[in-house]
Each structure stands twice: as C-alpha cells, then as structure tokens.
Amino acid sequence: MSLKLKALLKSPWVFHLSTGSCNNCDIEILDCLTPRFDIERFGMLLAGSIKHADVLLVTGSCNRMSVERMKELWEQVPKPCLVVAVGTCTASRGIFKDSYNCPVPLDKIIPVDVYIPGCPPKPEAIIAGVVKLIEKVGSGND
C-alpha cells in the first residue's frame, strides 16, 4: 500500500455527489453525521469541496445532465480517490432502468470500489460499507 493511501485511510474525508437521486440516499448520508450515527467518531468528515475529498459517495441514477459534470469533477479530484456507490440506483439504476434519461450505471463511467445496495440504504449500512472499503484497501487486496 502506498504511503498516500495509508495517510488517506486514517481520516477519510468524504464528498457527496448526487447524480439525479430522489434525495433519500443523500439524506441518509447526512443522517450519518448527526448524533445517533455520528460517523465523525471514525474520523470521517463531509468535505465541502471535491478538492478536499478522499472518498466519493455517489448517489443517484446518473442522468444525462449530471454525467458530464461528474466526469469533470472526477478529473478535478486528487488521486488516489475511492468511490462508493450508495443505493440501488447508482449500482444498477434500479427502478429507473428503463428511463430515457438514465443511460448507464455508475461503474460504466468511473471506477467503483464499493457498492452499498438498498433503497435507501440505512445509515448503518452506509457506515458498514465505508468501513469495509477501508478494510479492503488497508489489507492490500485492491
């Protein structure tokens, strides 16, 4: 594992990127920050700018308008950056599979490290997903 990755995993800053979701996953991500779940105790912090991000939490069904912006953001983010697909929409487009505005799932656009299924996934699931991501990268089985 590179030194960069090791430093990154100590306290991963997450950036939340919504690509056409119904708000539910976004709210559950915000919920993780609030007293009951409080992911800040694991050193995770929601970053305001993509340039501060170590982990991208992507939600939503990747619609045509946001895909272009997402590619632009992906170029701006400092690498290495880990990507977590939160919710069924991001993983497989779920109920919006047949929609004219959701052409491809997320992993056809940018590389995804962890998928968290659920509509919406519970905050517990999101925390477990990010912890698994840290374990996976930490053990070197990339």
């Binding site: 919504s18 708000n23 539910n24 709210i27 109920i95």
Partner: protein, 394 residues
Amino acid sequence: MGRTVIPIGPYHPLQEEPEFFTLTVEGETVVDIDVRIGYNHRGIEKLSESKTFENSTFVVERICGICSTSHPFAYTRAVEDIFPMEVPVRAKYIRTIIAEAERIHSHLLWLGLAGHFLGYNTVYMWAWKLREEILDVMEILSGNRNNYAMFKPGGVRRDIKKEDIPVCLKKIDSILPTLDMLKKAVLDDPVLHARLKGVGVLTYQEAIEFSALGPTSRASGVARDVRKDSPYGAYREMEWEMIVTGNGDVFDKAVIRILEMFESVKILKYCLNRLPEGEIDANIEDVPPGEGIGHIEAPRGETFHFVKSDGTNRPLRHKVRAPTFMNLPTYKATVKGETISDATIILAAIDPCYCCTERLAVKDTKGKMLYDGTDLVRLSREKTERLKRRMGIR
C-alpha cells in the same frame, strides 16, 4: 455600480441536491436570480406510463425521498377518482397516520438544515436527533425508514398491528418535551430574531400572484391548506388548527413549520388512538377509461396528480405537479434586494425539493428550444401509436 454574476453549483455544500443558481449582484445586493435545474430528471411521468396502476405507486414514491408519502397519496387518490369507489375507513386512517408522521420528519429535516445554513449547528443536530424518533415510528409501522410502500390504489398494503400502537404513542409522546425545547430555542432566540425577521419577505399580494403553496403561502397570510379546503383521508374527523401568520419573512416560515409539527402530533395521536376496525383494501380489479385528479397537502404544499386511463392496466397519461414547482418562482420576489449572505437562507426557506420539480425540454447547443413538454408528450404518443400499428395491437 458594475454587476457581477456569481454562479452557485451544481455541486456545492449548500444543499444536498444538485442545482445551479446564477446570482447577479451589485456590490453586496442581489439584483437578479436564475435557477437552472435538470440534474435530477429521471423521466418519472413517462416511466409511470409504462407500469401498471399498482406498480406506478412505487415509481411515484421515488420522485422524492422526503415526500415519499405525498406522491403515492396523491397518485392513489387520482386513480380512485377515475371511477366511483370508496376507500375503507381504516385505510384512510392509516394513510393519514403515515402522511402526518412524514410531515413531522420533513419539517424537522428542514429546521435542521435551516439551522445548518445559518451556522447554528446546534439546531441541526437537535432537530435531526429528534427526527430519528419519528423515523423509528415509521420503521415500526411500515418496515422502512423512508420509501414506506404503504399505499396502493384502493387502500393500503400493510396493516398496523395492535401491539405496535402503544409503542408508537410512547415514542411520539417522548419527542414532545424536546420539540417544545426546540421551539423555544428557535422562537425565543434574540440572535435568530435579528437574523431572520424581515428577511426575504413575500407579501400577501405576491404570494397570490405567484400561486405560492403550503407553508410559503401560509406565512404570507394566505390561508390555503388542502387538508382544510377539501378534506381527504381522516382529516375531516378531528379538530386541528391551520397555522397562518402574516409577515411572509423567513422567520414566519420557520414559525409555521414548528407550530405545524405540534398539530401533526395531535392528529397522529388522535388517529392512533381511534384507529377503526375493518378492511384495509377495497381490492380494485379493473380501472375503467376516464380521468382522475388527486391533490393532497404535502409538507411543502399542494401535490397534484392527474391520471388518464384508457381501460387498460396502465395509465395513458400521468401528470405530476409538485409544490416546489409553484414555490420556486417566488425567489424572484424574495431574494431581490437582499444581501448575498442572506440569499442562502432565503433560497432554503421555501424548503425546495428540486427532484420533484424536474421537467424536460430539448434545446440545441445554441440554447434554442426545439421541443417543450407538450411536444414531447405528442411525440411519445405518436410513437406508441406507430408501435401499436406495427405490432397489430388494436
């Protein structure tokens, strides 16, 4: 003085949804605003027309995560409006319970985010902690924290168990002292008074001209609430108060939402205590040809659904109008003349929900409009007809 254009978004830490604001400012003062949305468009109306009446409920539920009761509620009412039918009383009560619990969670969510935008993070943490209790009630009643899947045309999908009711009542009672404290913390705080009073005023006349809905209009003195004006569900049965204030500023919008939560608790407790026995589903078999409308009071205002049926098992046309669609243009009246630092809270004050509001239009690269909504519906119908002819259906 020279004008400067400040772009905000589409990905910015202010709101959790992507949207793009262009603020034109002269010095500190905002002189014009433009909102561009479309980052959340998923083509729900078209998708719903390809699903059966019962399956469409799940699609409309995913229009918006916060209003995941309001849209199915309005949609099922629209389907039930197509032909004469009666929803069982118990189902009506269960629908009301879910809708009111959602109102509490939505208002708490707004209150928390508003506190966050003001830099008052204590309110954010308190409100969201309190919201968890309501989500627990939802989980007990429906099995999920959001996206409850309780609705179906003709009734509800899941019954409320007798042994769950005391647990829920206890949880609801337990939030009341904290809610009271939160009310005092917000309404009696001199800092918030100084920060919010007289900011982003929407006058009575403007509220009527823009057809503002829900708390946005009631804060301006327009007494408009679907629950009172054309009662549905079980709202006719009990006494409750419509909260109306007159100043139209951000502070009044907060007051309305906080006081409404107490009314919602009242309604919730009434319904849980007096839940009648009986069927929960009218078992609709076929939907005859016809048109139906359904409108209900969502936490943000009136949600309106229109469904047209041609006698098959799918809607021929499904039209959705969410409250933010009407509330969004009020920015033009409220933000102009305010400072940039106040703009964030004014933009948040209508409790905007962009994913409800998304529409589709086709433009060429120079910005010329090629097809608007009506054209696209016409094109879609023509294609369906072509396909039907080719496949030899009817």
